[in-house]
């Protein structure tokens, strides 16, 4: 009996040894804090403050701009310096609230007021989560209060906490699971309260035995929760393959996990839910792994949202050698950045600084149809054929070949011996198809 997993996938260099034994360290911001109004999927938030306004820690400074949206919470006290466009990790300029930190960290009234979970109603729990500005912290940034309110809550029979952390180099979820497992489990219990008929499953890759041990120990007396060790294989933490590994159910790109009775939340999201609902603290910090062979002292930092990435690098001892590539996120799905004057946002997970850019080091050669892209694809499409559709920019053919089932995990590009930019071109095609469909 093998471990729960999926077909396909790859085993990239893990790189986790750099930072996995570094305990979480709190980093206080020095400079101004920048809060982009779009740190989530959905409508941008609408600012509630203007230049010159005072703000407090935990104060809602921007309101959700629609149903699928999330508010933005100040992580320091101080004065609003400006509301203007600012560069984000994604490379685009986004409307942002810039706050000058007064260093006092004065909190709003009610910040940290603990609540009894038992006494809360379903709507109260969802309201807490919404007001805390919580979104999917694994990277996607889908507003959590929307995810936790599916059409038919009675149909949900699995709440899966994603502790796979399959992305190379990242160790923030791992540290969270071994240092604050009670927060993760606490968050899962909050979510389970919303779904009476559901079981809680914490999926963790078996390259994190310590986390599996800690979590198992913590939930051993809870009949509703179990830990599911997963085979270490990228992209084990991808939502679709995780659901399959845990439940044997399959969803495609046009379905939601709730369609097969599942809710999937990241470890960090669960911890944030716990903090918001039980401990009364909105989402104002994020654990970020600062790592890579270019960094002097790789670390797992607990930083206030809005902190400038440069401060994280400084906290990690600066660069030991010159980086060729700096990635917000890990090497498989992260965003390469050209500037470090970018704020930590809700979907930041790591800052990976590499002295050598493997992707650029290879000139594409002829496709020899070796089929490696086909065998690693967790979405079971044929990247070789999709690529030909992409080269011709043939949207119809791309869709016909199931191009929209691509999860952009990067496995095909990783293995391609011809160095073709497969995933890269599929991302462009998927955007183009989505844009065409909106018309």
């Amino acid at each position: 009996m093998g471990l729960a997993t999926f077909t396909g996938g790859i085993h990239p260099f893990e790189g986790k040894a750099l930072s996995e034994n570094q305990p979480m360290e709190i980093l206080m911001p020095r400079g101004d804090l920048v809060y982009p109004l779009s740190q989530h999927i959905g409508a941008p938030a609408k600012p509630l403050v203007k230049k010159g306004d005072p703000v407090l820690v935990g104060q809602k400074i921007a309101e959700a701009g629609g149903f699928v949206s999330a508010p933005v919470i100040a992580s320091v006290s101080g004065t609003v310096k400006a509301v203007q466009k600012h560069l984000t990790a994604g490379g685009s300029m986004v409307d942002s609230i810039i706050v000058e930190n007064d260093g006092k960290y004065e909190k709003t009234e009610g910040f940290g007021r603990e609540r009894e979970l038992e006494s809360l109603s379903r709507d109260e729990i969802l309201a807490c989560i919404r007001e805390a500005g919580i979104v999917g912290l694994g990277g996607a940034g889908f507003p959590t209060h929307v995810k936790l309110a599916p059409k038919d809550p009675g149909k949900i029979d699995y709440v899966i906490i994603n502790g796979a952390e399959c992305e190379p180099y990242l160790t923030s979820d791992y540290r969270r699971m071994i240092e604050e497992p009670e927060k993760v489990v606490g968050g899962l219990r909050v979510i389970l309260k919303l779904f009476d008929g559901a079981r809680g499953v914490i999926g963790i890759e078996d390259n994190k035995p310590e986390a599996i041990k800690k979590m198992t120990e913590l939930v051993k007396d809870d009949p509703r929760i179990e830990v599911c060790p997963l085979k270490t294989k990228y992209p084990q933490g991808g939502e679709r393959v995780l659901i399959y590994a845990v439940t044997g159910r399959k969803i495609n790109s046009s379905m939601l996990p709730a369609d097969v009775g599942c809710i999937v939340d990241n470890v960090d999201t669960a911890a944030a839910v716990y903090m918001a609902v039980v401990r009364g603290e909105p989402l104002i910090t994020k654990t970020v792994t600062v790592t890579g062979d270019a960094v002097a002292k790789p670390k797992n930092l607990v930083v206030r949202l809005g902190t400038c990435y440069q401060e994280l690098i400084d906290a990690a001892g600066g660069f030991a050698s010159e980086p060729e590539k700096i990635i917000s996120g890990g090497p498989m799905m992260g965003q390469a950045m050209f500037d470090l004057q970018v704020p930590v946002a809700k979907n930041s997970s790591s800052l990976t600084c590499l002295t050598h850019d493997e992707a650029a080091a290879m000139e594409p050669t002829a496709c020899i149809r070796c089929g490696r892209c086909v065998s690693v694809c967790p979405g079971r499409v044929v990247p070789q054929k999709l690529y030909r559709a992409a080269l011709k920019h043939d949207l119809d053919l791309f869709v016909k070949l199931n191009g929209m089932e691509c999860c952009e995990c990067g496995c095909c590009s990783f293995v391609c011996p011809a160095g073709k930019p497969l995933t890269q071109s599929f991302k462009e095609m998927r955007k183009a198809v989505a844009a065409a469909r909106r018309k």
Binding site: P12, P168, F319, A336, L354, C367, R369, V382, G410
Partner: protein, 319 residues
Amino acid sequence: MAGLLNVSSSPHARSGVVTSHIMGDVIIAMIPAAVFGVYQFGAHAAVVLLATVLSCVLSEYLFEKLMNRPVTVGDLSAVVTGLILGLNMPPDIPVWIPCLGGVFAIIVVKQLYGGLGQNFMNPALAARCFLLVSFAGKMSSFTWTSRVPASIDAVSGATPLAMLKAGTPLGTDEITAMFIGNIPGTIGEVSTLALLIGAAYLLARKVIHIRIPAAYILTFAVFVYIFGKQDAGYVLAHLCGGGLIFGAFFMATDYVTSPITPAGQIVFGVILGILTGLFRIFGSSAEGVSYAIIIGNLLVPLIEKYTLPVAFGKEGKRA
């Protein structure tokens, strides 16, 4: 930070495996068969192998130079083509014939269709068939005398397959000789043992998948059993004889000219098994592997079209 940072779309990691590594593995896998061929047939076999490899590499180099294209001999694919072609040659063939084959394989079959990855037939096999048609006599003359006295030696010149075709029954000794390679035949196809060692290497290195060879060999065995003789020795002799093992593991698995879809690879193997069986049992020639693979190559686009995998989560919903 003095320099500018690299910015590109993810993923930012690569496995590090490139085409030349894969081709290198294929070359390594053919070394046992090549060494055995030279040991078995003598120095002239080595000259033939060298001639095909050199003519393939030189043809590729010169063609690309003349066409002002980037020279790609470094990917080692021409070496692989040359080696496969050489291993498919009778050991005592005049050297100019394999040289001509190399030129044909690279220029006509590969480069004229756009180079690596664009040819629709296996270049080495297409060249072999071209030579078979053009120089039938020289290409199918296997004069050979065994170094060790063996029973097959009595009919020096006739391959075991030709004997099977003629209705001569082969015993355990003959089949053992076929497995080891102590028989007449082309340079690389005679030793089943040496070929299987190379095949095991390719499988272990995950250069090839077992799907095509397994489907091919199994189908062929069943076909021969049904339409040939219901006799284990007969079937075994067919499996060890001719180019079946060489073809199944080294030529049918050629990436460019075999289906990329997993289901398609099974279908492809089954088709090759049936075609080879047809040619060997009902055809006029004792051999059939080369033609079976060449015809199979032509069917690849069609096979792929109908064997596209069902995307994850789309089972049962195919439009």
